[in-house]
Amino acid sequence: MTEELNRQRVLNMFETFYAGDIESALGRCTDDVEFFSNAPVDILPHLGSHRGKAELRAMWQTVYSRYTEMRHEVPIILAEGDKVAALLRLFFRKRANNRVVQFDLAVFFTLRDGRISQIREVMDTFDLVEQVLEKDLSSLLTGKATGEP
């Protein structure tokens, strides 16, 4: 029963966040919420580690300042006790040039008293960096064009 509720709470949070309602999404988190995204902070400095609603708000506002549109799909969601894990497929449209960044994100939540107290993210960061920078890093590293054997 708790698991189903927590699952729905996380789905509701996704709905509000990706609809652009940061305050409503923050309202679903505890005051001391912890966030950690395994990402290269030298390239994506707004990611990394944050604690508390103020830091989370600032990070989410940074994301929103860079993208005009965000769409999400949830192909997998799993809940057990006070924990929920979801695999998201995300589509963000860049404010700068209208290009769409598409990536998959694994998010692990811990809930306390019905609110999200911990968020941990893992993603294919190489792909994300390539899309954000619009650079083919694989070709730079291998000296081969994409698809070249």
Partner: protein, 145 residues
């Protein structure tokens, strides 16, 4: 109480990678398995999508040819009836360079009658590339993208 399929699969997978013993894992994979490790296939040819038991066994062999697992810590785990998800931190050695590597990954596994039917793995691939293939002068600088 029956053991969750994840534990059997996890033991067999690590045995396959570290000891090149594939007999244990073969019956734990569904014939029609769908398997994806998200990441740059140009740098890590064992990443990408595979379909079917033979292709998945082959990719596990390719991984076993290249790395050894020293340690893994499950930072978070969720077990469903025939599904499981974990957030893991791995300590590996890349065999051809003998380089130690630490990387975080997440997996979402689905089982059918105790056999793996779907596996999705997301890996902090930039961190992995930095530790394994990046020459120091290729380090990127912060951007406002």
């Amino acid at each position: 109480m029956t053991e969750h399929s994840l534990w059997r699969f996890s033991r067999a997978l690590h045995r396959a990678i570290n000891e090149r013993q594939f007999a244990e894992i073969e019956p734990l994979i569904d014939e029609d398995v769908d398997w994806t490790i998200h990441g740059p296939v140009e740098l890590f040819p064992y990443f990408g999508s595979r379909r079917g038991k033979a292709a998945v066994l082959e990719v596990i062999r390719q991984i076993a040819d290249r790395v050894r697992v020293h340690r893994f810590d499950r930072e978070q785990i969720m077990l469903g009836r025939e599904a499981a998800s974990s957030l893991l931190r791995y300590s590996l050695t890349v065999l051809d360079t003998n380089k130690p590597v630490r990387v975080r990954l997440a997996h979402f596994a689905q089982f059918r009658e105790g056999r793996l039917s779907s596996m999705r793995i997301l890996i902090d691939s930039y961190e992995l590339a930095e530790q394994t293939v990046y020459p120091p002068h290729m380090r990127m600088v912060a951007v406002s993208a």
